[in-house]
């Protein structure tokens, strides 16, 4: 794994130098767009419809559409002034109970590993969190934006989950769902409970696989295999190594015959021992 960020966890007077790693990866299979006729990947070009030409990056600025078709232009330098200081710290603000955070708040998970100099402070923080059963809420700056994050312990590793700000969580007011006291019969509820009980098991993530991705993978492999039959030159029959060793032996034998004053003894497997000097 490549670390994606280096910084430190700041916790009271303690500073833990750490490296951050993405804990998850997206394994969706990427398909590219090709021109149907010649199978060339199509290119996206940035075009200005008014000037009717392709526009290079050097001529592109950002703008916000504050009214239809009316823009304020925002310069990169202005954005830079807005972004928080790049302090590279994970600033622990509070400690809370994990159960108090609804999973809806969790966004992305990262592993935090200490730098060599931070082993002790890391172990200390880990043990304190384990013993109190608390998780930390911290402010963290990643890629010039501030986010909220939680820190918790999993095995020997401290995990960081970025969490959404409350105003990023949508409300449920507009959804139509039955009220809590919606009438159902005792018989119906006992049947539903039976059904749930019959499906109860321990959570074993290993048994769930992405069926769609697996089928797509198989389709690609099957097609790619046919492709190689069309394009690939016939693979030479037999074992390349054995053929090459035989050819080498033949060349050695020929050399020996030329200088036949030296007696040679051949042992099994083509190994040669010089009998006389």
């Amino acid at each position: 794994m490549h670390s994606m960020w280096k910084g430190s966890i700041s916790f009271g007077l303690v500073n833990v130098p750490i490296k951050m790693f993405a804990a998850t990866e997206n394994k969706d299979i990427k398909l590219r767009y090709l021109h149907k006729e010649c199978h060339t990947p199509v290119r996206y070009e940035k075009r200005c419809p008014k000037c009717d030409r392709e526009v290079p990056m050097s001529e592109i600025v950002r703008g916000y559409e504050y009214q239809p078709n009316r823009f304020v232009v925002i310069e990169d330098s202005e954005l830079e002034q807005l972004s928080p200081e790049k302090t590279r710290t994970i600033d622990i603000l509070d400690f809370v109970d994990l159960a108090r955070i609804d999973p809806i708040y969790f966004d992305k998970t990262y592993y935090l590993a200490p730098e060599e100099s931070g082993f002790k402070a890391y172990a200390l923080l880990r043990q304190a969190m384990n013993e109190t059963g608390r998780i930390a809420i911290a402010k963290v700056i990643i890629r010039s934006s501030t986010s909220l994050a939680s820190l918790r312990v999993n095995g020997n590793t401290i995990l960081m989950e970025t969490i959404f700000y409350p105003d990023e969580i949508r409300g449920v007011e507009s959804l139509s769902v039955p009220a809590a006291d919606y009438a159902v019969s005792d018989q119906e509820i006992s049947l539903a409970r039976q059904l749930i009980d019959s499906l109860v098991t321990d959570f074993d993530p290993g048994k769930y696989v992405d069926d769609y991705r697996a089928s797509l993978q198989r389709l690609i492999e099957a097609k790619a295999q046919n492709e190689t039959f069309v394009n690939a030159p016939a693979t030479p029959a037999g074992d390349n190594v054995v053929d090459l060793m035989k050819a080498l032996q033949a060349s050695l034998d020929a050399t020996k015959k030329e200088s036949s004053t030296t007696a040679v003894k051949t042992t099994k497997g083509g190994r040669k021992k010089k009998a006389t000097g």
Binding site: I29, E221, T228, A247
Partner: protein, 319 residues
């Protein structure tokens, strides 16, 4: 290092020193120098872990080697060898094995396993049945290796020992192989050391290449931009200046006035050629070069121009 460290981080393998010729005296065995990627295998508790010379993991790159799980009776053990692949001509091809070594994408790897079969040439076993046996003499380690691997199914081979280094050097040269490695009888395995117990003698290799551009200093041509065809696409394989004679340079410089200053770059694959101070040419001229080996980004190491040849550029094919 503890056994745990050895298996967690990997060892640095023993390396040979470079010599112009193999040793003449008695007391050495000689082996073919296989032109591939050094791969160290660690087997422990039914697991097979592969690392390259720098200790980077390669287990996912060569799933064929998982068959070495069957070495459980001598595990934990460490095997040292060279991973090789063959080109269409039936000769060992470093670019081919490198293509395998750079692949991690599962789909492409599945295809590459069929297209580029690999072969593992084993030559040492520094760790055996849970302890380091680096102090054992070469011949004893070799016997243990032979005993362990000879019964295995799979693309595994043991590097052949030859007693006559001079003959092996000549024959490998005739066959266009990379060179030979000579090993001192009775010598130990020294981790992470470049030592005189192992000596390599390499052959200079030759190649016909397509000239795809000229690089200019002042107003004089000083080197060639070289390429090889990969199918119908020209791959950039590096710059070569040494070996060019005064009259070559004069003629090439005279050519410049006929060359468009902004001709399109003929190289379509491979590393990016330089563009500053470069005149690109349509691929027509063929140069023969000598070179030491391929670098890991598939450029020629230390190329020397031997001359120009009247050949069809299309015959200058990659692998």
């Amino acid at each position: 290092m503890t056994t745990y460290d050895i298996f967690a981080k990997g060892i640095a393998p023993m390396e040979p020193t470079l010599h112009r010729l193999p040793p003449l005296e008695e007391g050495w065995v000689h082996q073919v120098k296989w032109d591939g990627v050094r791969i160290i295998t660690y087997t422990s508790q039914g697991q097979v872990v592969l690392r390259n010379r720098k200790g980077n993991l390669r287990s996912d790159h060569y799933p064929e080697l998982q068959q070495l799980q069957s070495l459980s009776s001598i595990s934990p053990c460490i095997l040292d060898g060279e991973m090789i692949a063959f080109g269409e001509s039936g000769m060992v091809s470093f670019p081919k094995v490198l293509r395998r070594d750079l692949l991690t994408n599962a789909t492409r790897l599945a295809q590459a396993i069929r297209q580029i079969p690999i072969h593992y040439m084993l030559f040492d076993i520094p760790f055996y049945k849970g302890r380091s046996i680096h102090q054992l003499p070469l011949e004893e380690r070799r016997a243990l290796l032979q005993d362990a691997v000879s019964r295995l199914d799979g693309p595994f081979y043991i590097a052949e020992d030859y007693m006559d280094g001079q003959a092996l050097y000549r024959s490998t040269s005739e066959m266009g192989m990379e060179g030979i490695v000579s090993k001192r009888l009775g010598s130990p395995y020294l981790y992470g050391t470049r030592t005189d117990f192992w000596r390599k003698a390499k052959h200079v290799k030759r190649l016909l290449t397509v000239v795809g551009g000229l690089s200019v200093r002042g107003k004089q041509v000083n080197s060639l931009l070289l390429g090889l065809y990969e199918g119908d696409k020209l791959r950039f394989i590096g710059k070569a200046g040494s070996g060019l004679r005064e009259d070559h340079l004069r003629q090439l410089t005279a050519m410049l006035s006929h060359v468009a200053a902004k001709a399109p770059c003929p190289f379509q694959v491979g590393p990016r050629p330089p563009t500053a101070g470069v005149y690109f040419l349509p691929p027509a001229l063929v140069a023969e070069v000598e070179y030491l080996e391929w670098t890991s980004d598939l450029s020629l190491r230390s190329p020397v121009v031997c001359g120009f040849r009247d050949e069809d550029p299309q015959n200058c094919q990659w692998v």
